[in-house]
């Protein structure tokens, strides 16, 4: 009766109190978020105005903008440090960069396919008592030991140059195969087979002639490890294919020896109309 009623009122008032606290907490949180947004908006607007002024100042003055106040020695040094760091970054683009270490030099060989920079590899060399490779990230299928044996002791520059040729050629072969798989997968039948060095590629691709489709089997061998074009191209078609198709296979064979894999495929779409 009365006690049950009192208990119920107590529970209700407790729940109401909890709800009240929750609501106050939520309102506080909302107020804080609103305040943060205001602060950040103000900060952003100030920065934007600063940048706009900076841009205007540069448009008015020709040549070099000199700082208005006398810069501190620290600011000058910080500028110079950034400037030297930028130049060191440019060395990365030349293909061979690095830095001196306590016991020798750590070289970085960068690779690129035309204008696209790809993987880079490092070589940590010790110079005392003789030049030796302490650590490196060169993949195991690159003949590093062979190249080191031939050049490392006598001509480090030549060693890096030859290694760079190998690495760049490997990366470029791999890039061509990747591009082929990425952009011409509709013309490739089945899987594109390749080895880790990417100097042997085998795949089947579709060719259409006179509104009929033929399957070509392609085998590319890159005999020169410093080259990203194949030395051997073997294209075979089915024995019942007409003479015009066999001629096409011969033309393709010649093309793939001269032109990068994905570029050759790109040219097919423009020549296909001609064959039909």
């Amino acid at each position: 009766g009365v006690f049950a009623h009192l208990e119920m009122l107590e529970v209700q008032s407790h729940e109401a109190a909890v709800k009240q606290v929750e609501m106050e907490q939520q309102e506080e949180k909302l107020a804080r978020l609103k305040a943060t947004v205001q602060e950040l908006r103000l900060q952003r607007d100030k920065l934007q105005a600063k940048v706009d002024l900076q841009q205007k100042g540069q448009l008015c003055k020709e040549g070099v903008m000199l700082p208005l106040a006398q810069p501190s020695a620290q600011a000058v040094l910080e500028w110079k440090i950034k400037s030297v760091k930028a130049m060191l970054q440019v060395f990365y683009l030349t293909g061979i960069s690095g830095k001196l270490t306590k016991r020798g030099v750590c070289f970085c060989i960068s690779t690129a396919y035309e204008g696209t920079y790809l993987d880079s590899y490092f070589l940590d060399l010790l110079t005392e008592p003789e030049v030796q490779i302490y650590r490196h990230s060169v993949p195991v299928f690159i003949p590093l030991e062979q190249i080191a044996k031939k050049y490392l002791q006598t001509d480090i520059r030549r060693f890096l140059s030859v290694l760079s040729d190998h690495l760049n050629a490997y990366v470029r072969r791999r890039y061509q195969a990747d591009q082929l798989q990425e952009h011409f997968s509709d013309q490739i039948e089945g899987k594109l087979q390749r080895n880790s060095l990417c100097n042997l590629l085998v795949f089947n691709y579709n060719v259409s002639s006179k509104s009929k489709t033929f399957l070509f089997n392609m085998r590319l061998l890159y005999g020169n490890l410093c080259c990203s074009l194949p030395t051997e191209v073997i294209i075979s078609c089915t024995p019942d294919a007409p003479a015009s198709v066999a001629e096409m296979a011969a033309a393709h064979s010649d093309l793939f020896r001269r032109v990068a894999l994905h570029k050759a495929f790109r040219s097919f779409s423009s020549t296909e109309e001609r064959v039909d």
Binding site: Q43, M65, I81, L100, G115, D165
Partner: protein, 186 residues
């Protein structure tokens, strides 16, 4: 009170923080790229910096940092034979995932000089950062040589900056040997 209203504010906070970070970087880049201090000014600053830090414990020694970087740079120039005499860059675009810079670079390799201009595009994708060169333009000494000019135009077309440097480096070395040999026999 439902949570979506909090989300709206939290999203705006995140986007404002990113904007602020980008604007701050833009400002710094612009300051860096439009300022120039001569070697004498650098030397003077090193001297006055040294007297400033004398007797104090400084967490970062700028002079030492500069020396290490300059030693690395001069080693690379000596080792590769590629001497950069001037480098300037301008950040023309900067967003969260993309930076575009215009570079001007001049220098020489052994005794042959070159001048380059190119655009560098850095893009942040899921796993890594990709670097692509566009609009490459090359001016080379001994550019009258037809083989050299053929090489230069095919390199410019493909944006093949790396091959340019690798080939130029060996060509310059060969050219130098030839020149020395020629002088020897004169």
């Amino acid at each position: 009170m439902d949570n979506s209203i909090f989300q709206v504010y939290e999203d705006e906070i995140q986007s404002l923080e990113e904007e602020i970070k980008l604007l701050a970087e833009k400002y710094e880049d612009s300051q860096q790229e439009s300022t120039f201090f001569s070697d004498e000014e650098i030397l003077m600053s090193i001297k006055s910096y040294q007297t400033e830090i004398k007797g104090h414990e400084f967490p970062s020694n700028l002079k030492a940092e500069l020396e290490t970087l300059e030693t690395d740079l001069s080693f690379l120039m000596k080792f590769t034979g590629i001497q950069f005499t001037n480098h300037s860059k301008k950040t023309v675009e900067k967003t969260r995932n993309r930076t575009v810079q215009k570079h001007r670079l001049s220098g020489n390799c052994h005794s042959l000089s070159f001048q380059l201009e190119f655009q560098l595009l850095e893009m942040q994708n899921k796993e890594n950062v990709s670097v692509v060169i566009n609009d490459l333009s090359i001016v080379m000494e001994s550019g009258e040589n037809s083989d050299v000019s053929k090489f230069v135009s095919s390199t410019e077309e493909s944006g093949n900056l790396l091959t340019f440097f690798r080939s130029f480096s060996s060509y310059a070395e060969w050219y130098e040997h030839r020149r020395c040999t020629f002088l020897h026999f004169k």
